[in-house]
Amino acid sequence: MFLGIVLPIFYVLKTKNNKNLFLLFASYAFYGYWDWRFCGLLLLSTLVDYFVGQKLHQAQKATSKKWLLRASLASNLGILALFKYFNFFVDSFQQVVEGFGGHVDYLHLNILLPVGISFYTFQTLSYTIDIYRGKLNPTRNFIDFALFVSFFPQLVAGPIERARALLPQLSAPLHPSRNQIKEGIVLIITGLFRKVLIGDTAGRYVDHIFTNLQHFSSFEIICGLVLFSVQIYADFSGYSHMARGTAKLVGVELMKNFEQPYLSRNITEFWRRWHISLSQWLKDYLYLSLGGNRKGESRTYINLMITMLLGGLWHGASWNFMIWGGLHGIYLAIHKMSLRGKKVESSNLSSISVRSAAKMFATYLLVLFTWIFFRSTSIETTSLFFSKMINWEPSNYWMLFAGITASYVIITVIIDRLEYQLNSHTFILQLKSRGIIVGILVGLLAVSFIYMFQADPLPFIYFQF
């Protein structure tokens, strides 16, 4: 409905300034639909970094530049820390003190986490950091910058765009080409299908199983975990498709956020294919700032671990997410050690050998193990999960669960394989018959809508981050 109102008005507007102003207004209306009070926070973040960016560029002394950057980091990360991590650190501190027999007055704030704060905070930080590093000149157009921060297709769940990539597009007149419109429509429809008919439907099983682990048997729980791996991928990649598609409809190109990650042959490749915008952000602004691999072998692994631990913490204020991040850090460190300086080659999936398939499966299992911690709502849930693995319980529904899980895995693999083979997320457009393309899209859209209408849709998983 929102697009149905925004797009016609956008297409009717003539000048670049009018279009950008309208998109800015639409973006704030989009964000305000969830909770209008947090539009102020978005505006504050925008204002701070706009002015810091200007001052950074004007500053001559290195110390001045450092202080300005610190101001940007402090304000953005401070807001993020307050809304997202305050209660986590206070509660953890209280638990530690009480563990030693002490007592601390209970201080827990009732704070609502603003949607998308982790995403737009990182996005604006990339702007100030790039100016500091001399890689980018600040924009003088406040509307363009505000739109860069609040651009509605990617505001609430990414991809986390770099200012270098997005600002120049917003600074130029936005005229979507015919190809962009076609690709945009395909991405929106296929993204909706992924989110609703794969992600949401898998999520129903996952939610019931993980909320009632004690009532499900060991095999059923494993199926629940596999279904979660499908759910989180379909949900997030579906959203990213829709974000890219929507952006294309207004003439903006956003980066790809997922490239068939479960077809990775090793963990390093997985992080080049999963949530690409975040992993690249962490690499460029955290890992490299810590020194990357330039300060010796052991420091490299420490930097890797810190990056992944903080990457885990970015997802949520919980020890489960830190464990998840830490495990990936360990995987990456071990893989790096095993490489001994060799570079990781991209997969060539045009022909998959048994060896490659085995590597993909092994990588998937490693990732699957980490999803236990990501999905579990508490340490108790995690413990119960492992206890059920150790004390195996048979299931009288194992065939049913196996069949359901297999159907989700197969459809995910088929779609990913086609995307990789045809080197495109919009591979449907490569069909020769336009009629067939339209028929397929109409079918996908119709069934997605029918499902959405009669079922309660699940929220996007990454909205909670």
């Binding site: 409905m1 008919l197 439907t201 898998a202 129903r204 099983y205 939610d207 019931h208 199983i209 909320t211 009632n212 009532h215 009288n396 529904y397 049913l400 069949g403 359901i404 297999a406 159907s407 989700y408 459809i411 018959s433 336009r434 009629g435 067939i436 393309i437 339209v438 028929g439 397929i440 899209l441 109409v442 079918g443 996908l444 069934v447 029918i450 499902y451 209408f453 009669q454 079922a455």
Partner: protein, 349 residues
């Protein structure tokens, strides 16, 4: 737009719908219709059909050869059998839980352990949407043919509203001082329902479409589309059960009186499945006929004392039917009551 283009559209659409139909069925995203219109019982469950439902919970089970939930069962009883039939509404039918978590299954399991000399069978004749009149009609039509030792009616104050919500459910008609069971008469409406049901039975996608149409009958489309920006000009009727909602209908008294051949004091027990008491007139009618009433709330109260709401579902953060913990408590409580009843009443069959 050429013929070729439209032809391509149809081919693409058909191929997509077929593929999605397979995927939707294999992934149990939606199923085909679970009901059929029968000449003998009206709208009933489809025989020998597995089901998987998502509502407050995840329900998995099977409709047996006699069209009710459970394993296949024969009319003829096994030696030393103890056969208990339970009638009720959606709380009894229990689509929200796996079959192994259902209180009928738990009651059967507990009783089998505690009464090893009996072949215990607890038959779930619960049906969503049933009221007390539907239950009595169903007992006459279906339950009695299984010759149960004990019939348990789980009745809430809501179920005393004898207005038939679905004309295709079996009901009772008052004719010359007698009660007769009426199932779906062949009206134009019934004929069109049968035709429509056939489509819903063939396709999961069509079944989803049917659910959409059903939803629009109860919820305005604009409300679904506009979500929190929908301004409700009409107050939405609440289903909440409060003491004042359920006025006792005098007609019910005559129905209970005329059903004495069905609701026999030595074979029938009634349970109020709700926390709200029955209207005093209904309780008086039961007392007048020396009908036994059992209480399952003590088991559910123990859950509440431990901070567990027996109707709360964590996965959906919603209140609804009995959850798994409630089914466990009810199963155990029911088993205790039945064991006592057997000790006091039952002669081995």
């Amino acid at each position: 737009m050429s013929v070729r283009f439209f032809g391509g559209c149809l081919i693409g659409l058909a191929a997509t719908l077929l593929t999605l139909e397979i995927y939707v069925r294999l992934g149990h995203i939606a199923g085909t219709s679970t009901t059929e219109i029968y000449n003998d019982i009206g709208r009933g469950r489809r025989a020998n059909m597995n089901y998987l439902f998502f509502n407050e919970g995840l329900g998995i089970g099977r409709f047996n050869n006699h069209r009710f939930i459970g394993n296949d069962v024969e009319h003829a009883r096994k030696p030393n059998s103890l056969r208990i039939a339970i009638l009720g509404d959606s709380y009894v039918e229990g689509f929200q839980v796996l079959n192994r978590h259902h209180f009928c299954y738990i009651t059967e399991k507990v009783l089998s352990e505690q009464l090893p000399s009996y072949n215990v069978e607890v038959l779930n004749f619960g049906r969503s949407g049933f009221n007390l009149v539907n239950m009595i009609a169903y007992q006459k039509l279906m339950v009695d043919s299984f010759n149960p030792d004990l019939v348990i009616y789980m009745v809430s104050p809501q179920d005393l509203d004898i207005k038939n919500s679905d004309p295709l459910l079996p009901t009772l008609k008052h004719n010359d001082g007698k009660l007769t069971v009426e199932v779906a008469r062949e009206t134009p409406r019934v004929a069109s329902t049968r035709k429509y049901a056939r489509f819903q039975q063939q396709s999961a996608i069509l079944n989803m479409l049917g659910n959409c149409l059903r939803k629009t009958r109860t919820t305005p489309i604009l409300r679904i589309v506009l979500d929190k920006y929908y301004l409700a000009f009409k107050s939405i009727p609440t289903n909440e059960s409060t003491p004042n909602n359920h006025k006792y209908q005098p007609k019910l008294d005559s129905i209970i009186r005329l059903s004495e051949s069905v609701i026999k004091a030595d074979k029938v027990v009634l349970i109020n499945r709700d926390t709200i008491p029955w209207p005093i007139e209904f309780q008086d009618a039961l007392d007048a006929r020396s009908l036994t009433c059992w209480n399952i709330q003590n088991g559910l109260d123990s859950l509440r004392e431990h901070g567990i709401n027996p109707n709360y579902w964590d996965a959906k953060s919603t209140v609804g039917h009995w959850n798994m913990e409630a089914h466990q408590e009810i199963g155990v409580t029911l088993a205790q009551n039945i064991k006592l009843w057997v000790t006091n009443n039952k002669a081995p069959n």
